[in-house]
């Protein structure tokens, strides 16, 4: 009854598919090396769902992949892995922390995660119903204009655009350290891919998705700056970077078709690069969390001396996400700025400065800050994580050095002098700002995060409305009978006067 049509994509999407498979494979091998079979299974299912979304040639399969991503992530988040499995050591120093996070918190986070995801899927459902209902086919293609608003809202939830990001930040920080590595790669990127394939929406002749993306790219970085937990910081940067991608794919809503094609390619290209360097950064964070036994940046430091390899990889990841020429983020950000132009491009540059500032803090606090020497047997990073780190870092550099060699990457003069300069100065400015204002920046804490507010509102509604509903149905047959008879009379009279 449901048509199943799958096809292997070509060009840039095939590269994206390859990256999905690679990250899934790395995730499974990391989970296996940590001897966590359940985590490996959840990882495999999660990456399969990601792959399925790229193979999908009809909207129902795409919806299935959305749902499958949500359910496998539900499982993934709840698998709070035993900490310290990424490290090899005879005797680990007792740090007293709980690196794995509490099971209860993770379970609650998984509940909110699935709530957010099902909202996104429901909007997807509305969009395709309207699309097919107004004569569209089930093929994966830009939807009818009446279906665009629902789809755009669904994509905003799936890509965690603020203020709809609660499900992402809440769960990525409470899941096990390894789960974050897998989670960061798939759900939001499938959202971006869906947007690239189905959305072309404009409001007042503005490409609204791009505008939202550019704003969120800046705002999310501001939030990231005030974080003191490694994974929270990275989570807000996911939101910011995914917003970059939306700037690109949202250009489909603009007037000229030339920019829209380049924009979509730039967005997908950025997704590819982002998956690689963000997985790298999440793995670096996971190793650091395992090493220190907690997730608090303020109590980390000095890891560069003990784990030089992890330090180098972390720096590569930071340079890549900042968009320094020679690293992968540069190529796709350059394309995005060229394609969007004007105010959008300026906003992205501002976000780049913030990103550089934020990752200067990340690298400094974990690796460089002086920290009293810990005596005794120091753990070292395990073989599988080390291998994965090196491969991901190598890929980030390779793509950065020759972006045009990436299969399907758009033709562009990536290393024109003006472009290189445009890539260098925001990074330099960000690092400079850190040197000047780092002390002050480290002290900011407790910045307002809007997402608990939304959550509290929903929980408050549930608390206020549901118990009275339950009580009204628990007792009082007289009232119930009264309502029933009144309603019967009311319906009859409505029918009489209709």
């Amino acid at each position: 009854m449901i048509p199943f049509s799958l096809a292997v994509p070509v060009g840039l999407e095939l590269t994206l598919l390859t990256v999905f498979v690679m990250i899934g494979g790395f995730g499974v091998s990391l989970a296996l090396s940590a001897r966590d079979l359940g985590l490996a299974g959840a990882t495999a299912l999660h990456s399969l769902a990601g792959v399925l979304s790229l193979l999908a040639r009809d909207l129902i399969i795409l919806l299935i992949s959305w749902e499958l991503l949500a359910f496998s992530a539900f499982w993934l988040i709840r698998r709070v892995s035993v900490p310290r499995r990424l490290l090899v050591s005879d005797a680990l120093p007792d740090t007293g922390g709980q690196a794995g996070g509490s099971r209860d918190a993770a379970a609650r986070a998984s509940f909110w995660y699935i709530g957010g995801q099902i909202c996104a899927a429901a909007l997807f459902f509305v969009a395709i119903t309207v699309h097919v209902g107004t004569g569209g086919s089930l093929e994966v293609a830009p939807l009818a204009s009446a279906a665009q608003p629902a789809m755009a809202l669904g994509v905003f939830i799936k890509t965690a655009m603020m203020p709809l990001h609660g499900w992402l930040v809440g769960s990525y920080t409470r899941a096990g350290a390894l789960a974050g590595f897998v989670l960061s790669a798939f759900a939001t990127k499938v959202g971006v891919y869906t947007a690239a394939r189905t959305l072309a929406v404009s409001l007042f002749s503005l490409p609204i998705v791009s505008v939202v993306g550019a704003l969120v790219a800046v705002v999310a970085v501001i939030f990231a700056l005030s974080q003191h937990s490694a994974r929270r910081l990275l989570s807000f940067h996911i939101i910011s970077q995914v917003a970059y991608m939306l700037v690109g794919v949202g250009l489909a809503g603009s007037a000229t078709s030339a920019t829209s094609a380049v924009g979509i390619d730039a967005g997908i290209f950025h997704a590819i690069n982002h998956i690689i360097y963000k997985a790298l950064l999440f793995l670096v964070a996971a190793v650091a969390i395992d090493y220190f036994g907690h997730d608090d940046l303020d109590r980390m430091g000095g890891l560069a001396r003990h784990m030089p390899l992890v330090f180098v990889c972390g720096v590569v990841g930071a340079l890549a996400i900042t968009g320094v020429p020679g690293f992968s983020g540069y190529a796709s950000k350059e394309l995005l700025k060229k394609a969007s132009g004007g105010l959008l491009s300026t906003l992205l540059t501002v976000a780049s400065v913030g990103t550089a500032l934020s990752f200067s803090k990340f690298i400094y606090l974990i690796f460089l800050r002086p920290r009293p020497r810990v005596d005794g047997n120091r753990p070292s990073v395990g073989r599988v994580p080390a291998f994965v780190l090196v491969v991901l870092a190598g890929l980030s550099v390779a793509i950065g050095l020759s972006p045009h060699r990436v299969p399907g990457a758009p033709m562009h003069d990536y290393y024109a002098v003006s472009s290189v300069l445009a890539g260098v100065w925001p990074a330099m400015l960000g690092i400079g700002l850190w040197v000047v204002s780092g002390r002050w920046l480290m002290r900011i804490r407790g910045a307002v995060d809007p997402q608990p507010m939304l959550r509290r509102m929903l929980a408050g509604f549930a608390k206020a409305a549901l118990p009275p509903l339950r009580r009204a149905h628990a007792t009082d047959a007289q009232l119930a009978l009264g309502i029933t008879i009144t309603a019967a009379i009311a319906i009859t009279s409505v029918l009489v006067f209709l």
Binding site: I118, V132, L481, T484, I485, I491
Partner: protein, 501 residues
């Protein structure tokens, strides 16, 4: 050959009588009687299906007395689908109880057989009066099933059900009287032929009364108050029969009377708006109420309330007639069938969880997924289907209903359906959350273990809910036939002219 139509009533009725004697003999004999009845009922229903498949419809005049004096039994492609659901529910109930419970109270079986006889009677009745009689008989059997556990809550729930059934019966009675006054006949085909000459106001009032009366029967908001306590008090298997098959039979009555006998959509085209409003209210309130519950069986009861709403959305689109109506009829039939399967699965698999947790409160389900993995997995799979996650059967029918109601009424019903999806996912996610939580695992004694055979049956049903969405074409021809009858406002008119011979 057409005698079979009365046999679907007589077989379970005879089993109820024989069973009430056999129960004094031995439990084993009673089980033999019940098994024989379920088997015979299934055989009769199958032959009716085959006959209707060949001839299009089946007519039996009891004692060869022709209408208007005689009693007429009638079955067509639509009634056949409902009979199939009923028979399947009956067989599954028997198989499940035989494999799951070592000892059962004899009265339960007698009431079950009585209920099956009454429901079969409702479906094959060709006239209003017999329908009314069988409706009352079904009420008596249902009250017995609700209250027979001899607990205080059971008695209370039974009493509430009795009150609501009284109101329902009264409304139906008034409707019957009004129809008779307006048309002078009681056979459905006769009403369909005469209704054009009846005063329009009478049709409107009768339609309202029937919506109220049958709304109580299948638990439409705001007529749903009896349902949760009743399902909570009844055994899971009885609830599965009442919700899986009983509810569908009452929906069938509504369809037969409103759409075919009275032809309300032709006379009052705007009844669609009323059906739409009732359906949307049921979906939203039903799901919210399910979300508010702290008891697994009550949760399932309110989910049934919501799903009546989905079928009402489809019926609202059917009332638009034309190609929209024809398409929507298919969605309605599909959801009627799939919901019967999904809800029965949920009640049976829920039973294995309740037995293991020794309570039906959701809080007590903590860790039940680890203690009863197969039953829990079956429950969650059926829940996923009921929420409507692709590619399960529930998604397919929901998708059809969304498309058809979009064609009929625009984006509003689609948004309601989507909201329902979100809310229902939340309450099943909570069951999932609790079931997977780590709780202390109490030592298992024999009484808390559901036998493997019963679990295997439940797992099979659950796989069915999953695969129906993919393997649907096997039953598609039958469902298309039923949908064609549903959508045809003159479905019964043909009976007097062509079928009477």
């Amino acid at each position: 050959m057409t005698h079979i139509l009365i046999m679907v009533i007589i077989a379970p009725l005879a089993a109820a009588v024989a069973g009430s004697i056999a129960v004094y003999w031995s439990e084993r004999l009673l089980r033999c009687v019940v098994a024989a009845s379920a088997f015979a009922h299934a055989v009769f229903v199958t032959s009716i299906i085959v006959y209707v498949g060949d001839e299009g419809s089946m007519l039996y005049e009891v004692g060869a007395w022709v209408a208007p004096v005689g009693i007429m039994l009638y079955a067509d492609a639509l009634s056949v689908v409902i009979l199939l659901i009923l028979s399947a529910a009956h067989v599954v109930l028997v198989l499940h109880t035989f494999s799951a419970a070592r000892a059962s109270r004899g009265a339960t079986w007698i009431l079950v057989e009585l209920l099956v006889a009454a429901l079969s009677g409702i479906v094959v009745s060709g006239d209003l009066f017999n329908m009314f009689v069988f409706l009352e008989l079904a009420t008596v059997a249902s009250i017995g099933l609700v209250a027979h556990k001899r607990s205080a809550t059971g008695a209370g729930a039974g009493f509430v059900y009795l009150l609501f059934a009284l109101v329902s019966g009264l409304l139906f009675m008034i409707a019957v009287v009004l129809v008779y006054r307006a048309t002078g006949v009681l056979s459905l085909s006769g009403i369909a032929a005469e209704i054009d000459r009846a005063p329009e106001q009478a049709v409107r009032v009768v339609a309202g009364l029937l919506l109220g009366s049958l709304g109580i029967k299948f638990g439409l908001v705001p007529f749903h108050f009896w349902q949760a306590p009743a399902y909570e008090a009844a055994g899971s298997s009885a609830a599965a029969l009442m919700s899986g098959a009983g509810m569908k039979v009452y929906l069938y009555v509504l369809i037969r009377l409103i759409f075919h006998a009275l032809r309300v959509p032709v006379i009052v085209p705007r009844i669609g708006v009323v059906l739409l409003a009732l359906g949307a209210t049921s979906i939203l309130f039903g799901h919210l109420l399910a979300l508010a519950q702290r008891d697994l069986k009550r949760l399932l009861a309110f989910s049934s309330v919501a799903h009546v709403g989905y079928i009402f959305l489809a019926l609202a689109a059917v009332s638009r007639g034309g190609s929209i109506g024809a398409a929507a009829a298919y969605g309605a039939i599909l959801h009627i069938c799939f919901h019967a399967l999904m809800k029965s699965t949920l009640f049976y698999s829920g039973r294995s969880m309740i037995v293991r947790a020794r309570a039906s409160a959701t809080e007590r389900m903590r860790g039940v997924g680890r203690a009863e993995p197969l039953g829990f997995a079956a429950f969650m799979l059926a829940a996923v289907a009921l929420v409507g996650i692709p590619p399960t059967s529930g998604f397919y029918s929901k998708w059809r209903i969304a498309l058809d109601s979009f064609a009929g009424y625009g984006a509003f019903p689609v948004v309601v359906i989507a909201a329902g999806t979100v809310i229902s996912m939340l309450y099943y996610a909570r069951v999932l959350h609790l079931g997977l939580a780590e709780g202390e695992r109490p030592p298992v004694t024999g009484a808390e273990r559901t036998p493997t055979a019963a679990l295997a049956l439940v797992a099979l049903l659950s796989l069915g809910t999953f695969s129906m969405g993919v393997a649907g074409p096997a039953i598609e021809a039958m469902l298309t036939g039923a949908a064609a009858v549903l959508a045809d406002p003159e479905a019964i008119l043909a009976v007097t002219t062509g079928g009477a011979a």
